[in-house]
């Protein structure tokens, strides 16, 4: 289990517990459940890389305690 912090810098900061073998899509769903938004509108970014839904967090080397940028589209 890892915990990832997602922050849109507009007033929402979510700490999500997830497995490393979860996909980015799963993470988005979790975030959506916690924040109450549509998961399909969520865009996760780290610098300029937009994380794609079908890739696992481990593959993106997203580790415990990492901060991700949260955007809405």
């Amino acid at each position: 289990m890892i915990e990832v912090t997602c922050n849109d810098r507009l007033g929402k900061k979510v700490r999500v517990k997830c497995n490393p073998d979860d996909t980015v899509g799963d993470l988005k769903k979790l975030i959506a459940a916690q924040t109450g938004t549509n998961w399909e509108r969520i865009v996760l970014k780290k610098w300029y890389t937009i994380f794609k839904d079908h890739v696992t967090l481990a593959d993106y080397e997203i580790h415990d305690g990492m901060n991700l940028e949260l955007y809405y589209q």
């Binding site: 289990m1 890892i2 915990e3 922050n7 810098r9 507009l10 007033g11 929402k12 900061k13 979510v14 700490r15 999500v16 517990k17 997830c18 497995n19 490393p20 073998d21 979860d22 799963d26 769903k29 979790l30 459940a33 916690q34 924040t35 481990a58 415990d64 305690g65």
Partner: protein, 782 residues
């Protein structure tokens, strides 16, 4: 919260960290609580308290925590769920629960070996970090291994040595053995020696026998029979000594690729080392040349025999081995080359009989210019006729004949006549005429220039001799024609001479007798000359006479002939009165009879019998020539050339003035243009020439306009659009002006006024402002 953090304090680092953060947040909140309590705002405090209570109440089940004031969040709400909550959520979303086992954590485990193994947290697989290779250690290991190997080898050798018995050991062994055994051994040895000896003896015997037989046979030249020499026989020349050696052969027969070849190679093969080297060198050279593999024109070998080509011949050598020329030695080791010679002879004969097809053996580069030899070929050989032309300056004095010469010339002329007559038996009158002329001319010429006549005579003589050689009559006819042309030239010349001389006579005569009413055409033409010429040598000419002369030569010869005859007649009349002209008389008297005859004949049928035109173009052309529609160019030219010699005597260029630019530059043009006959009846005719020019619209143009128009046409470039428009407008205006009546305005006001006056029967018309309108209306009504 605290309980939770406590329970999980021993779990992962991460957990600890998250817990600590939670603790921190909690502390923070408590601090805040304190702060708020200090501020003693009850409502806020209650709120907080309630919140805290709620949290604590739910801490066992773990709930979503919301902290409004997370550090760095900038006032953002920090949402996080507990593990159970998350698991519930995950179950709803259809995801597997969070993995919480310890093994998943990446944690170094210490084995009993002391190696550190790690367990991957994702894949749950054990792994260990491989240590880096130590090069020094590896080298040491290698050295150590080598040492071990050496030791092992040593040990092995030592063991081997142990097994081998030393002499001392042997002795010790033999000592230990019985004496019988020793004796047996000895005996065995002796027997073996004996057997060897026996075998040797047998061998020797056999060998000696062989030797005896071989010694009796002596190796001589006859033994060489059937041996193959693997060189081309052409390499061996008679009287040359070449040492041949036996070629190396495979010990095991039929090895490798030469399996088939070797079957017939039972006999020994002789080769010479030097020749072999030579062959190799030649072959290397060939290879160096890099000839193309495929040569489509290489159909024949060097002997000229057709080569049968198989497919991909270039590989034949590599597949089947080199094909070497060889020959077999015959009886007594002699090779008979006579057969080869014979074959070669046959070949040569065969080749000689063959037709050579390469016509373009000598290919030359085509040059733009002819070589001198080609030029000579191209040039026509100069004809001897040219000699004739050179001295044409005949004078009246030259016409004096030498009495003894005339005879000779006559005979000659007769000869020539013969040659002329020979080819055509059925000749027209014209030809006769020519012949007569010829005769006549001969005489004149003879009197003037002996050498010239000679040359012509010679020519004719040669012609006679050559007649036999001529195969076809065409050649003869051609020659004849040429001769005739020459004759014409000479005739013209002499005629001119004669006429001039006669004219003089006539002048004299006219002074004396003025009754020559029957003036002939010629007289008229030459009147001017008569008048001007007082002394014989000078010749004056004006443009008219020049013109006439130019035209005159174009007229037929017959005309002149007639003129001549007329003049001669006159001459006869004068004769009695004139004593001075005796010499001339003599000259002409011979001819006169003939001329008379001829004239008579001509009178008998004045009109030449007209050729019928039903025989094709040829006859039509003939008619055209006869009628003068077609001029004889050659005659024309010759006549001019002949005349110019006579005419150009006292004639300078200054006298000539050009009336026309055409006359200056295109003097040759008038040769073929203009009428062929003089306009006698239009002598005094002076045409009134008026040139009218019209443009394409039919307007008559004045001089200036015409010039403009023509120059535009000449340069192929008309005036611009504006100019043409302007011109058109001008034209229109002019036309309008022409149409306009001079007494009225364009709107016919005057006419209308007059009519109004008539209607009103008043001598005036009122033109007032008020009534003007009415008036105008009335006017319009009208």
């Amino acid at each position: 919260m605290e309980s939770k953090s406590k329970s999980k304090s021993s779990s992962s680092r991460h957990r600890r960290r998250s817990d600590s953060s939670e603790e921190r947040s909690y502390k923070h909140s408590s601090k805040r609580k304190n702060y708020s309590s200090n501020e003693s705002s009850d409502s806020d405090h209650d709120d907080r308290k309630r919140h805290r209570d709620k949290k604590e109440k739910k801490s066992s089940s773990s709930k979503q925590t919301k902290t409004d004031d997370s550090p760095g969040g900038g006032g953002a709400e920090n949402l996080s769920l507990s593990i159970e909550e998350t698991n519930k959520l995950r179950a709803k979303l259809g995801l597997k629960p969070l993995s919480l086992d310890e093994s998943s954590k990446e944690k170094p485990k210490q084995d009993e070996t002391g190696k550190k193994t790690f367990i991957d947290k994702d894949t749950n697989q054990e792994f260990e970090h491989a240590p880096a290779k130590n090069l020094a250690e590896a080298r040491e290991q290698k050295e150590f291994k080598q040492k071990l190997e050496e030791q092992r080898e040593k040990r092995r050798l030592a063991e081997k040595m142990k097994q081998v018995k030393s002499i001392a050991d042997e002795e010790s062994d033999s000592d230990s053995e019985s004496a019988d055994a020793w004796v047996r051994k000895l005996k065995e040895k002796q027997e073996a020696a004996k057997k060897a000896k026996l075998l040797e003896e047998l061998d020797e015997q056999l060998m000696s026998q062989n030797e005896v037989t071989q010694k009796t046979k002596k190796y001589n030249a006859s033994n060489l029979k059937g041996l193959r020499v693997e060189h081309d026989q052409t390499k061996f020349k008679e009287g040359e000594e070449i040492i041949l050696t036996l070629k190396d052969r495979n010990i095991v027969k039929g090895l490798g690729e030469n399996l088939e070849l070797d079957e017939e190679d039972d006999a020994d093969v002789l080769v010479n080392v030097n020749l072999l080297d030579d062959e190799r060198a030649i072959k290397n050279l060939e290879n160096k040349k890099k000839k193309p593999d495929y040569n489509p024109y290489d159909d024949f070998d060097e002997d000229g025999n057709f080569k049968v080509k198989s497919i991909l011949t270039k590989y034949d050598e590599e597949l089947n081995g080199e094909e070497k020329k060889s020959f077999r030695l015959g009886a007594k080791g002699v090779y008979d080359a006579s057969d080869d010679k014979f074959i070669k002879k046959l070949d040569d004969e065969h080749k000689a009989r063959a037709i050579k097809l390469d016509i373009l053996t000598e290919l030359k580069e085509a040059s733009d210019y002819m070589t001198t030899q080609e030029m000579e070929k191209f040039k026509k050989p100069k004809k001897i006729r040219k000699v004739l032309r050179k001295n044409k300056n005949l004078k009246a004095d030259d016409l004096l004949p030498l009495p003894n010469e005339t005879q000779e010339v006559k005979t000659r002329s007769v000869k020539v006549e013969k040659t002329d007559k020979k080819p055509k038996d059925s000749d027209t009158k014209k030809v006769d005429l020519d012949n007569i002329d010829f005769d006549f001319i001969k005489k004149n010429e003879s009197s003037s220039d002996e050498g010239e006549i000679r040359s012509t005579d010679d020519e004719s003589d040669i012609d006679i001799s050559n007649i036999g050689k001529f195969d076809d009559i065409q050649d003869i006819l051609d020659q004849e024609n040429e001769l005739r042309e020459e004759l014409h030239i000479v005739l013209d010349k002499t005629r001119k001479k004669i006429t001039s001389s006669i004219l003089n006579q006539i002048e004299v005569r006219e002074e004396v007798v003025n009754d020559n009413s029957q003036t002939v055409v010629n007289f008229d033409n030459l009147k001017t000359v008569e008048e001007m010429d007082e002394d014989k040598t000078t010749l004056t000419m004006d443009t008219i006479s020049e013109f006439c002369r130019g035209i005159g030569t174009d007229t037929k010869v017959e005309n002149e002939e007639m003129e001549l005859s007329y003049t001669r007649k006159n001459e006869e009349k004068v004769e009695s009165e004139d004593e001075e002209l005796e010499d001339e008389e003599f000259n002409l008297s011979d001819v006169e009879a003939e001329v008379e005859n001829e004239k008579n004949r001509e009178e008998m049928n004045v009109l030449d019998e007209e050729p019928i035109i039903d025989r094709g173009i040829g006859s039509a052309l003939k008619l055209a020539v006869n009628k003068g529609y077609l001029g004889k160019e050659k005659d024309n030219l010759n006549a001019r050339a002949a005349k110019s010699d006579i005419q150009a005597k006292n004639y300078t260029i200054e006298e000539r003035n050009y009336y026309d630019i055409d006359d200056k530059y295109n003097r040759n043009r008038d040769k073929f243009s203009g009428p062929l006959v003089d306009f006698e009846e239009k002598r005094g005719y002076k045409p009134d020439i008026k040139l009218d020019y019209f443009d394409e619209k039919g307007h008559a143009m004045n001089e200036k306009e015409a010039f403009r128009y023509l120059s535009h046409r000449f340069h192929g470039k008309g005036p611009g659009k504006k100019k043409t428009e302007k011109r058109l407008n001008k034209f229109k205006e002019a036309e309008a002006m022409n149409k306009m009546s001079s007494s009225d305005t364009p709107l016919h006001t005057v006419e209308l006024l007059i009519e109004k006056q008539k209607r009103l029967q008043q001598p005036y018309v009122v033109l007032s402002a008020q009534k003007g309108k009415q008036d105008q209306v009335t006017l319009h009504k009208r």
